[in-house]
């Protein structure tokens, strides 16, 4: 059971009030990209045993998409943050680094 806090409306709720949207911070390859880049964008996802950055939607609440950083093994949540960003904010990275020094934001 995950307890997520929606960064838009501030509600802390358990995961059934939300809906997962898969890996976050994908680079979109569409028109003009190579077939390989497009295939990778469409189908190839990291599936790390450890820290994951995910998209979530507050589907039963305010309806907004946001991002969450959590550990796929321990289910620890390091924080949630706005979807209007290309990378996790410094405070989230700092929180993860404090517990998992070996983790790199871009891996």
């Amino acid at each position: 059971m995950l307890l997520l806090t929606c960064p838009y409306c501030g509600v802390m709720a358990e995961e059934t009030e939300f809906h997962g949207g898969g890996e976050a911070h994908l680079t979109r390859h569409s028109d003009g990209s190579s077939d390989d880049a497009f295939t990778a964008y469409l189908f190839e996802r990291k599936n790390p045993k450890g820290i994951v950055l995910e998209r979530w939607r507050h589907v039963y609440g305010c309806g907004k998409w946001f991002h969450a950083a959590r550990c796929a093994v321990t289910l620890e949540i390091f924080g949630t943050y706005s979807a209007q960003t290309f990378e996790p904010p410094a405070e989230i990275i700092a929180k993860i680094k404090a517990k998992r020094p070996e983790w790199e934001a871009k891996s």
Partner: protein, 182 residues
């Protein structure tokens, strides 16, 4: 609680009185709730926009860019939409959603217990108080609810689920089935 004529269906067999209200007039407003927009809404409606996750004077905070406004007696959705459209300068959308929503009343000191059976929300009296407004799920149904009084809860869901929601609430309100957690 309003008078009995305002309800289309009432069930008093359970631990909590469950009643489905007749058509309640309401308007949904979508707009970025900036300072200027808040001032314009106050001018159009005569009441300030409530804080996040709150309901006050019939205005409910649905999302950072959405309000649900109950149309008071003597006013009409059309007139309210016209006033909002005239006042708000920023991009906005105001729609009469009276026919798209079903409204229920739960009356009784076990009303919190009934909701707690289906909503992943802390409904303890110290956690959920008068003025709080919560959008969540009840069973599988997207709902929003708030307290009218300590023993009275108003609940809103989509009109297409009105009968299902009513039966769900009646079932959850059966005597002897209260979890007594709260």
């Amino acid at each position: 609680m309003s008078d009995l004529m305002s309800f289309s269906e009432i069930d008093g067999s359970g631990a909590v009185l469950v009643a489905a209200q007749r058509r309640v007039m309401m308007v949904t407003l979508k707009a970025e709730l900036s300072k200027a927009t808040r001032a314009a809404i106050k001018k159009a409606l005569g009441t300030p926009v409530p804080a996040a996750r709150k309901i006050a004077n019939g205005i409910a905070w649905m999302a950072p860019d959405e309000l649900l406004i109950m149309v008071p007696q003597g006013d009409t959705p059309e007139a309210m939409i016209a006033r909002l459209t005239a006042e708000l300068k920023a991009p906005m959308l105001a729609v009469d959603v009276s026919d798209a929503r079903a409204v229920f009343t739960l009356k009784g000191n076990k009303a919190r217990e009934v909701l707690a059976k289906g909503a992943p929300v802390d409904l303890a009296p110290e956690a959920f108080t008068l003025g709080d407004f919560r959008r969540t799920r009840l069973g599988q149904v997207a709902v929003a609810f708030w307290l009218e009084a300590d023993d009275e809860i108003t609940l809103v869901c989509f009109a297409s689920l009105k009968q299902f929601m009513f039966e769900w609430l009646v079932n959850a309100a059966q005597k002897g089935s209260m979890p007594e957690f709260l």
